[in-house]
């Protein structure tokens, strides 16, 4: 079952869309999620033992109550009848002492276990978040943002539920069951054996529950994720939703997913609805048996009344916690399903990974070399094999029709993907030998999509160089021509851009992301349609800034507006993933090639 070839299909998130899992896959996933839980708990082993000790002592204190009151009835009351108040005083004092101990230990236990639980959650959050950040763009494009968000939110919270409610319930319940079990056997062995008679039945019911609930909870994790995907997509594109009256259709789609989610939960909850009462039923049947047998033995004089009363009280405390164990088990099943998903994401390899033996590049010059670079998406090859040298400091314009491979080349250069064959080198060092920090220090890409983060404009610009002073931030904005519009905003640089910069126009967002790149001050700048939404004066300002900025830098510029191209040192015309023209703008414009044609068309469009 577990040959490497077979397990390979279940690695990572591969199983997520599989409706029916084979038994082997199920076992694999469960083992994986248990392993993750084990790893998360490992640093807390010492604390867990202390917690165990605390809760054990606390349980003994708590259990002393019924024992002492039985003693009170059997010993202190008769003594008092004889005129001896001593035993009553002692027993009462013992009860008060036990109650105080119980309370203090309970407090210690609750706060400690809370601390452990929160530490585990924080570790998990950090780990998944960091891992997701490291995963390649290819993963994000395939997995979709909504699903990743659901992993990082609702799945983590499923574990939180277990830790919140579970840990103390389980530990105290298990210890109640164990200690009371012993007490019952000691108190009266024959009745104790009857009490334990329910166990085989309990195990059988638990096994039944486990078999069915695993799949049921797995479904709930998926149905919740589907809801979150729908949600994030709707509100990410709310303008289009409203403008095209998509609301009613979205309501329908959401209703279907929401109902599906309800059904998934209904199934899981139905299993609990059978499981937990079954535990109660077994407990009650055992209680009736103890009552019957016990009463008969009292009649025969083989058992004291007080003992029977205590026994029945203990029995209640024996089976009630078992319900809690049952509830814990169902929370555990739910959390395991979530951990299955999380461990899947954690298992995804960061294929565009940090090098094991990195080469340091403290002072990048910006020389780029491409040797036999080949790249394709699943269904088609975009770059069949590219050879190219870009000396340090050169500004290169990439020109060509949609689908010619310009953006792919840019993305490979920025190492968003790794080429399937061949090599790209920066200053002679293959990109995959550079640490991410060195690579990003040397090279920055600005795209058409100018994503802004919530926070102020200044925050967003300083994203290019964390810790930059206000002067540096304003300097960058000034250089790029963004300063006037920022100044005109109500709170200037401290204006909150709100959600994804919704308050700013596309052009303004592009200016801010330009300023961000300017501030980053890289040796290589890659611009992929980064000026498309700018108006002419803004573009002019950006270009002026670029002239200064690019003077001593390598640049790779993709632009449909050929004005940007004019100040390039070199123009590459691409077609079907190949470079078909290569030369200075002047040479190419004057020639009869494709670029000359493009340039004429563009010049006409200016009117």
């Amino acid at each position: 079952m577990s040959t490497p070839a077979v397990t390979e299909n279940w690695r990572g998130v591969a199983t997520e869309d599989t409706e029916q899992l084979s038994a082997g896959a199920g076992i694999f996933l469960r083992a994986r999620s248990r392993r993750l839980l084990g790893e998360l708990l490992a640093p807390h082993h010492a604390a867990l033992w202390w917690l165990l000790l605390t809760i054990t002592v606390q349980n003994i204190a708590w259990l002393a109550g019924p024992f002492l009151i039985g003693l009170g009835i059997d010993v202190a009351v008769p003594a008092l009848m004889r005129g001896d108040a001593g035993p009553l005083v002692w027993i009462t004092a013992a009860m008060l002492g036990a109650a105080a101990l119980d309370t203090v230990l309970r407090y210690v236990f609750l706060t400690w276990s809370g601390r452990v639980g929160q530490a585990v959650l924080l570790t998990l959050r950090r780990r998944v978040f960091q891992h997701v950040q490291r995963l390649p763009l290819a993963f994000h494009e395939r997995y979709t943002s909504g699903k990743t968000i659901s992993r990082l939110t609702s799945d983590v919270e499923a574990l939180a539920e277990l830790l919140d409610e579970g840990l103390d319930n389980l530990v105290s319940a298990v210890f109640s069951v164990l200690t009371i079990g012993v007490v019952l056997l000691v108190l009266d062995p024959p009745l104790g054996l009857i009490a334990l008679l329910g166990f085989p039945a309990l195990l059988w019911v638990a096994r039944w529950f486990q078999r069915h609930s695993t799949a049921a909870y797995r479904r709930t994790r998926e149905s919740v994720a589907a809801l979150i995907v729908q949600f994030t997509e709707t509100f990410g594109g709310i303008r289009a939703v409203q403008a095209f009256r998509r609301e009613p259709r979205n309501d329908e789609l959401h209703a279907v997913l929401n109902e599906d989610n309800r059904r998934a939960h209904d199934r899981a909850f139905w299993l609990i609805a059978v499981f937990v009462p079954a535990v109660t039923l077994i407990g009650n049947l055992v209680t009736v048996a103890v009552l019957g047998v016990g009463a008969l033995r009292v009649l025969d004089g083989g058992l004291a009344v007080g003992t029977l009363v205590s026994f029945l009280l203990y029995l209640r405390r024996f089976y009630d916690p078992l319900q809690e164990v049952a509830m814990f088990y169902s929370s555990y099943q739910s959390a395991t399903a979530a951990l299955e998903k999380l461990s899947g994401v954690l298992e995804e390899e960061p294929t565009v990974a940090e090098p094991t033996a990195p080469v340091a590049l403290p002072e990048p010059r910006g020389e780029l070399a491409y040797d036999g670079v080949r790249f394709g998406y699943t269904d088609r090859t975009v770059l069949p094999g590219l050879d190219l040298r870009i000396p340090a400091g050169q500004t290169v314009a990439l020109v060509g029709a949609t689908g010619a491979g310009k953006s792919t080349l840019a993305r490979l250069t920025a190492r968003f993907y790794d080429p399937t064959a061949g090599e790209i080198r920066l200053d002679g060092v293959p990109l995959d030998r550079l640490t991410d920090a060195d690579l990003r220090h040397a090279m920055v890409m600005v795209t058409q999509e100018s994503f802004l983060f919530s926070g102020t404009i200044a925050d967003n610009i300083s994203f290019g160089r964390p810790g930059a002073s206000r002067d540096e931030i304003e300097g960058a904005a000034r250089a790029i021509g963004a300063h006037p519009f920022i100044e005109a905003l109500p709170e200037g640089y401290d204006t909150d851009v709100r959600r994804r910069g919704g308050r700013l126009s596309a052009g303004q967002r592009q200016l801010v992301s330009f300023a961000r790149a300017f501030l980053a001050d890289p040796a290589v700048l890659i611009l992929d349609e980064a000026t498309s939404s700018l108006d002419v004066p803004s573009e002019r300002l950006v270009q002026r800034a670029l002239r200064t900025l690019l003077a001593d830098r390598t640049a790779l510029i993709i632009a449909h507006r050929l004005s940007t191209v004019e100040f390039a040192d070199r123009v590459l015309v691409m077609e079907d993933g190949r470079i078909v023209e290569d030369g200075s703008p002047e040479d190419l414009v004057g020639g009869t090639g494709r670029f000359a044609g493009l340039h004429r068309a563009w010049a006409d469009s200016l009117v």
Binding site: R115, F235, A295, L296, D320
Partner: protein
Amino acid sequence: MNDPASQPLPADGRGRLSALLRLWPFARPYRGMIALTFGGALLATLAQLAVPLITAAIVDGPIAAHDRAGLIPLIGLALVFGIAEAALFFLRRWAMNKSCLQIERDLRDTLYARLQRLPVAFHDRWASGQLLSRATTDVSTVRRFVGFGAVFLAVNLVTCVVVLALLLVRYWPLGLAVLLTTVPLSGLALRWERRYNVQARSVQDQQGELTTDVEEAVQGIRVVKSLGRSGLVFDRYDAKATRLRTLQLKKVRTLALLWCVFELHPQLTLAMILVGGAVAVHAGALTVGGLVGFVALFTVLLWPILSLGFLFAFAQEAASACDRIGELLDAPITVTDRPGVRPASLGSPARLRFEGAGFTYPGSTSPVLDGIDLEIAPGETVALVGATGSGKTTLTALVGRLYDVTAGRVTLDGVDIRDLPLTQLRSVVAAAFEDATLFSMSVRENLTLGRPDASEADVEEALRVAQAEFVHDLPWGLATRIGEQGLSLSGGQRQRLALARAVLGRPSVLVLDDPLSALDVHTEKLVERALREVLAGTTALVVAHRPSTVLLADRVALLAGGRIAAVGRHTDLLADVPAYRNLLAQDSELAEVPS
């Protein structure tokens, strides 16, 4: 912190369980099931009482009288009650699942529908993570409370009352003493519950913040990666996650205190009962059997009393989740149909007029648009030109009422657009925005988003106009799923599809926001040619950054300082208005720039 969620609420909005009352409309349809849940739980609890009572009866009856035969009916009764308890337990859980999961579903559907209809201005203001965390975490908290907390809170309170009454009946002096002990308990609990409510709220708000960070880190992954700022983004997230832990631990400490008080109370009371009972037995006021029964009865209360502590806390948590959901449900849908609006008969194409139209963003004092007067005749195309940030995009958003004017009005054929039903307005006005938003569905569904009844010929024509015939080459043609969960398209391809969507079915009013920005020169030329035919038959407002786009228009309006600074033909404006020339004339540029 400008997030509306973290702004302080009015003092009376905090710490009130009455927030839970607003759940009633959602619970109402399932009241039968809820009653069944409650009844099942109550009866099951009463069935639990049977065992101690029967035990006492056995001790005082058959055992005292040495009556073996008398045991049988009592044991039989215990058996019946034992089975009944489990059956009722099942009934309670089954009914609970039905009601609380349906309430959760309805609540979430309502919330989603409401959010979709809240104005764009609302969405500009709210971090989407806050919306998501309310629709998922908070709604689930409410569900868990309705299904579990509320039922047991009620049942356990009833149990306490019933058992106290029974205790009073059994031996009133001791019963009264037990009753009195609940007074200091309630007082202490009340104080801590309030504190807990505030802490629960801050945890929920922080969860929303964290969700926002997750969303941004995931959706902005390209920017994060290209600037190599994973470390920075992680540090931010980490700070928020660590803060969440701190807040959670505060909450845990309050809960632990509450728990301890409710755990200590019944134990102290039990000790008191022993002393009081022993004295009473000594005085001959109570039999030993009576004391046993009293104690057995009281031990039934151990769990209900203990659980009240965290059930009240749970109620507080649910109440603050309700508050958070309520804040969204109560947010005013400002852009909506006025009462009594009726569809007007509009010409196709219609006449679009801005009359003194102004717009100020909520919370801002300076208007973005101020006294816009502009008329676009039926079938006319007007290009809107202006510097970055001059309010062009805002102006286009006014036509489809994505924002409502804050001054003046916008009319179609003389009818104020706010007097038109929103569905009519938005079917008359079609738009393509700067960000070409495509959804995760088939190409066809994306295209026919606003016009589900469009014919095949309409679709083909729209694709031709937008030069988007490339979709036929996709693996499954028009049925190919695109968007985030489907095939990814280039920026230019997305923009062409968004354009095709806007021109589909030749709308009578067309609003295009820089519709050709991502196209290459060659494609742009082809689109322009085809678009010209469409524009001839529609009233259009086109935001333009390029001369080529401007040439699509019959007239040009220059927007500056929130006003229409000039209107006229392109060539005239180019000749007469320096500001306009500066915006559109590309050639002069570099010569005048000192380098």
